[in-house]
Each structure stands twice: as structure tokens, then as C-alpha cells.
């Protein structure tokens, strides 16, 4: 049988709200297949998002789902993960959600290397609010708030998250959902913070203003600029212009995962308390003591 999405969907809530041809659905399907192929049990998955078109995804998947506030998905996800570290936490959010208002939580999650899979659907625009430029909108492109063409330079989200400390960083696009599934699966299997940036289409808000009003055409356009990493590395700067590399751009396994570090610390603290129970009230003695000298600042 073909892939049975039925088990993974809240079918009574379908069809979903996305525009005809919106790539978000393709990404969601890839994520679903990745989860199934890893043998994940829906009961043990926390699927989290922020606010935006992309962030409507949790409403449709049949598991524990959390649609949070704009830009803050990773903060809720971090709390959720720390409270139940044995469960799988997946976050899916738009480029604005992840990198504009949510940029700080993104880089700090990378830094902590907490075992969460972050799927960024990068359609290079604020889809849901009507097509304002985002931190990934190409230079010169028109947007609701860039009537003269966008002057804001963009982020390379993969570069940024690698520099911030993520230990699995990959990029794919919606014209190849089968490959995308592999990239997402790699991220989900990875122990640590995994970022999968997915180049996607918002023909409605981005395309209509930028000569790509047709979803099928825009998706093909997106595909046409993608270059496999292996090939990318051999290209000249001129050849690279206007293109972007796809594949697993970064993977690192020796950086400690955050939950693990914390629960190790917890164990250590508990051992110390247990040891202390032999010497009476050592726990009490462990409370921070003011030393003989030094300031007592605490301000602002």
C-alpha cells in the first residue's frame, strides 16, 4: 500500500487551510513519513509550532500538538522537552516565526544543542499576514511592505544556525519531498538540535508580487536553483550566484546534548544529597554562603 497518512492525520479537520499548491503540505507529509519510518509512536511525539501559515500544521497531525505564540515555539518546545526528555519534540515554523521574531530562541536552541528537530519552512515571506518581507526575502523582491523592492539583506539560516551551535543542519526544498523526508529523518534521528531548512513556495503572497503566481511554476523555479552540496563545493562563486546548496550541510556528534547534560547534573546533585544525608544537614550547608569579602551587587 501507498503511504497511509490517514493514521497520522486528523482527517475530520481536512482539507487544510493552505492555499492550493502551498508547499507547506508537502513538508508536513515528508515529516510524517520521516516519523513513521523512524517507528515513532504518535503518543510520544510533541509537535509544536508558532504562528503563521506553516505553524498551522499541528492542527492536522494526530498526536500531541501545540500551536503557540508567534516566534516562541522553541521556548515552549524546550520546556516540553526538558519536562519529558524521553519524548520526541518536533517544531515546524515559518521563516518569520523562526528567524524574525523567533531568531533569538533559534540561536539559543542551537547553542544549547537540545534534542529537538526544527523544521523551518522558508517561503521567504510572511505568508499569513499578507506578504510582508521577512529576513529571508531576496533583495529587490516586492512585498507588501517593500513596494519599491526589498532592501533588507537576508540571513543564510543554515550558516547562522551552524555558527550558533546546531549539530545537524540540512537544507531541502518542496520540489523533492522524497529527499526532504530523508533530510528530516536524519534530523529526527540525530541526538541534538537539528535544523532542516526547507525552501518552499508562497505563490499567493510572494509569487503574485514577483512574477511567480503559479504554484507549480514557482516550485519548479525553487528546484531549479538548488544544487546538491557535493556539487556546490566544486562551484565557482559566479556559478553559485542565485543558487543554494542542499543536503546535510553540517553534522557533529561530540557536542553534549542539553537534556543529557542536565539530567547528569541532576543525578550528581542527588548523589551529593544522598552522601550528605550521612553527614547531617550537608544539604543545608550547600546553600550559597556569602564569603568574607566582595560586593553584594544585585541590581537593574
Amino acid at each position: 500500500m501507498a503511504f497511509n497518512y490517514a493514521n497520522w492525520l486528523r482527517q475530520d479537520l481536512m482539507p487544510h487551510i493552505w492555499c492550493p499548491g502551498c508547499g507547506i503540505g508537502i513538508v508536513l507529509k515528508s515529516a510524517i513519513r520521516a516519523m513513521e519510518s523512524l517507528g515513532w509512536n504518535q503518543d510520544t511525539i510533541g509537535f509544536v509550532s508558532g504562528i503563521g501559515c506553516t505553524s498551522r500544521a499541528p492542527g492536522y497531525v494526530d498526536m500531541n500538538t501545540l500551536h503557540t505564540t508567534h516566534g516562541r515555539a522553541l521556548t515552549f518546545a524546550t520546556g516540553l522537552k526538558m519536562a519529558a526528555p524521553d519524548k520526541n519534540v518536533v517544531v515546524m515554523a515559518g521563516d518569520g516565526d523562526s528567524a524574525a521574531i523567533g531568531g533569538n530562541h533559534l540561536i539559543h536552541s542551537c547553542r544549547r544543542n537540545i534534542n529537538i528537530t526544527m523544521i523551518i519552512v522558508n517561503n521567504e515571506i510572511y505568508g499569513m499576514t499578507g506578504g510582508q518581507f521577512s529576513p529571508t526575502t531576496p533583495g529587490g523582491a516586492r512585498a507588501a511592505t517593500a513596494p519599491y523592492g526589498n532592501i533588507d539583506p537576508g540571513f543564510d539560516l543554515c550558516k547562522l544556525t551552524i555558527a550558533a551551535g546546531a549539530t545537524y543542519v540540512a537544507r531541502g526544498h518542496v520540489a523533492n519531498g522524497i529527499y526532504l523526508e530523508r533530510l528530516i529523518k536524519g534530523g529526527m534521528a540525530h541526538k541534538g538540535f537539528a535544523v532542516i531548512e526547507v525552501m518552499s513556495n508562497c505563490h499567493t503572497q510572494y509569487g503574485r508580487r514577483n512574477q511567480h503566481p503559479d504554484p507549480a511554476e514557482l516550485i519548479e523555479h525553487i528546484a531549479s536553483n538548488a544544487v546538491m552540496l557535493t556539487k556546490w563545493d566544486k562551484m565557482t562563486p559566479e556559478e553559485k550566484s542565485g543558487k543554494y546548496p542542499i543536503g546535510v550541510l553540517h553534522k557533529e556528534t561530540d557536542k553534549p546534548e542539553y537534556c543529557e547534560s542536565f539530567y547528569k547534573l541532576q543525578q550528581h546533585a542527588q548523589e551529593r544529597v544522598r552522601d550528605a544525608s550521612r553527614k547531617i544537614a550537608e544539604a543545608e550547608a550547600m546553600k550559597p554562603k556569602r564569603e568574607g569579602a566582595g560586593g553584594e551587587p544585585s541590581e537593574n
Binding site: 500500500m1 501507498a2 481536512m14 482539507p15 507529509k29 519531498g177 522524497i178 507549480a216 516550485i219
Partner: protein, 90 residues
Amino acid sequence: MSLVETVSANGQFKLLVHETWCKGCRICVDLCPTKTLAMVESPDRWEGSIVKVTNMEACNGCGICEAECPDFAISVFAEGKSKPAAGGAA
């Protein structure tokens, strides 16, 4: 809008189209390597057309249409198998 699922088969592969969910975006048609699919007029849909299997013989079961439909509207079956032809979970 009626609740319709259509099935086409060519002995090796079977395509199931969930017409109710198809929003007529044309992505599957464009990406199908074998031109198995086409958009056809659908007077009861304001968008004008939805997908139809018009050349089932050609289908090679690659699963691209299934993977690329944003609306969960196409499934590809390898006939007699319980596994997806491709594009599904291993």
C-alpha cells in the same frame, strides 16, 4: 463539491485520487515524469480544474505525485503489495 475518490490502475500500479481534497494546483501534473496526470475542467469548482488520471498506462509508480501533492489527494499503490511503490516510509 462532492466527496469523490477515483481509482485508476495499470496492472502494476494503482492511483487513488481523493478528488474532494484536490485543490487543482497542478503540481502533480507538472512533476509527474510520465505525463500520467492532467488537469481537467471541473465545472463545479471555481478554480476551474482538478487532477485526473488521463494516461494510466504510462505510470511507473515513482510516487512523486504522492509525495508532492500538498493536499494529501493522491496515493500510489504497487498492486498486490502492501508497501508504497516509492516515496513512502521504508
